[in-house]
């Protein structure tokens, strides 16, 4: 347990000290938010209708950003070989790194989501639910991203390959999250979409560390 916590603390600390922490992802998120009215036109009617969906799309894309570096530095430094000899199994190491990714980057993006959605024209009542949905969604994005990062470890194609592998699995939370917001704003019951979003996150929590661990093991051999 102590080993897990110290690894977590180390990873979060590293993401803040090297590479500026969440600044890059936040900057990208806000830039996307700014580009949306620039590309669609500033008509508030159009924008308020697409605000939930495009916010979720931007959240997914911004979560992709730091995935390439998730395992790469430690892989090249040989830290994984040392960690393997320790008390933690590779699956736990993978889970901790994805958790650190979420706490360092994804959580910040999720906290900004209500702001982004409202700036894009969604009504203020959407704020609370959008925060909850973004927390669940960004959590699953971090876990699934870990699988993609581990699978493409060592290949020179990097970020775009990870995006290609991971984006099809980002699709369900985007659908459920955006659908949840649209249902809420139109007065329909939200329980189903919220349940599916939560279920997807739990699925990711249960299965992704195993897949990531298997991919890491294959990369280290």
């Amino acid at each position: 347990m102590k080993a897990a916590l110290s690894l977590l603390k180390r990873d979060i600390g590293l993401s803040w000290s090297r590479g500026g922490g969440p600044v890059l992802a936040v900057g990208f998120y806000l830039t996307l938010m700014a580009m949306i009215p620039l590309s669609l036109g500033p008509e508030s009617q159009v924008l308020s209708r697409v605000a939930p969906g495009l916010t979720w799309l931007s959240l997914a894309l911004a979560s992709l950003l730091s995935l390439e570096r998730l395992f790469e530095r430690d892989y090249e430094d040989g830290l994984f070989d040392i960690l393997r000899g320790g008390p933690l199994p590779l699956e736990a190491i993978a889970l901790i790194k994805c958790l650190a990714q979420w706490l360092g980057t994804g959580l910040i993006l999720a906290l900004l989501t209500p702001l982004v959605m409202i700036i894009l024209g969604a009504p203020i009542e959407a704020a609370g639910l959008s925060l909850l949905a973004a927390l669940l969604g960004s959590f699953s994005f971090a876990l699934i991203g870990g699988v993609g990062a581990a699978l493409s470890l060592g290949s020179r194609k990097g970020g775009v390959l990870i995006a290609l592998l991971v984006l099809p699995f980002y699709v369900p939370p985007v659908i459920f999250g955006a659908g949840l917001m649209q249902a809420y704003l139109s007065g329909s019951p939200i329980f189903q979409a919220l349940g599916l979003l939560g279920a997807y996150s739990l699925f990711a929590l249960a299965l992704c560390p195993i897949a990531t661990g298997a991919a890491l093991r294959s990369a280290l051999n």
């Binding site: 699988v147 699978l151 493409s152 290949s155 020179r156 897949a211 990369a219």
Partner: protein
């Protein structure tokens, strides 16, 4: 028996002679199927355009079938380190990708006269598009990793994760209010399609399956030859370096 087949020599010795017969059978069945397609009755609503179904449905079935084959081969390759299974999965992927693309294309051509639209984002079309993306991702990952063993293992993990999409495609017409009609062939109560139309459909499906098996065997042999060539070349350059 599966481990008996793991020897590439044995595999080639067994399957290469029968391969041309499979190919010939596929061609003959395809010709017969096409004849049946054009001899079959018109649909009372759609007229002649219903005949696209005889191309669209088999390609869609093959798209899913090939992914299932890829998944099973990946499973064998990953768990039992069956090297021929890895080659088989890698060989099947581009075939499946093309079948999926054809299914999407023929579906689009059929949808225009029937539903008035080239494309809709309903459950089935979106999940088949996602299947196509899975195929592309699989091929891309294979190409991106140089070491063959590592590539095989990583892509096997990817293929197994993507298997979850297959039930989504199958049941998408039941779970969501989609533009696609519900299942009319593989149903718990048996097919609801007329026998005049069922027969051409099944013949074309069988023809496509045999075509897939033929092409798959060709590709497996090609991949095995490519590996042997690479090994020989490596040995040659190593020997030259020594001199």
């Amino acid at each position: 028996m599966i481990s008996w087949l793991a020897n590439p020599e044995r595999f080639s010795r067994l399957f290469t002679p029968i391969r041309p017969y499979i190919g010939a059978a596929a061609a003959l069945l395809c010709l017969w199927g096409l004849y049946l397609c054009f001899a079959s009755p018109e649909d009372y609503q759609q007229g002649d355009t219903v005949r696209i179904m005889y191309l669209h449905v088999p390609t869609a079935w093959m798209a899913m079938f090939v992914y299932l084959v890829m998944g099973i081969a990946s499973f064998f390759g990953l768990i039992w380190r069956h090297s021929l299974a890895d080659v088989a999965a890698k060989a099947a992927a581009p075939i499946g990708a093309v079948f999926t693309a054809l299914a999407l294309l023929t579906g689009s051509l059929w949808g225009r006269p029937m539903w008035g639209t080239w494309w809709e984002w309903d459950g089935r079309m979106t999940s088949v598009l996602v299947l196509f993306l899975f195929y592309i991702g699989y091929i891309a990952l294979h190409a991106a990793i140089e070491d063959e063993t590592r590539a095989a293992r990583s892509t096997a993990i990817l293929a197994l994760i993507g298997l979850v999409n297959l039930p989504v495609i199958k049941f998408s017409v039941e779970w969501w209010n989609t533009l696609h009609q519900g299942a009319s062939v593989i149903r718990p109560d048996g097919p609801t399609i007329a026998p005049d139309m069922l027969w051409p459909l099944l013949v074309m499906a069988l023809a496509f399956k045999l075509f897939f098996i033929w092409l798959w065997l060709v590709r497996i042999d090609t991949e095995l030859m490519a590996r042997r060539t690479r090994a020989l070349r490596a040995r040659l350059s190593f020997a030259e370096e020594g001199n």
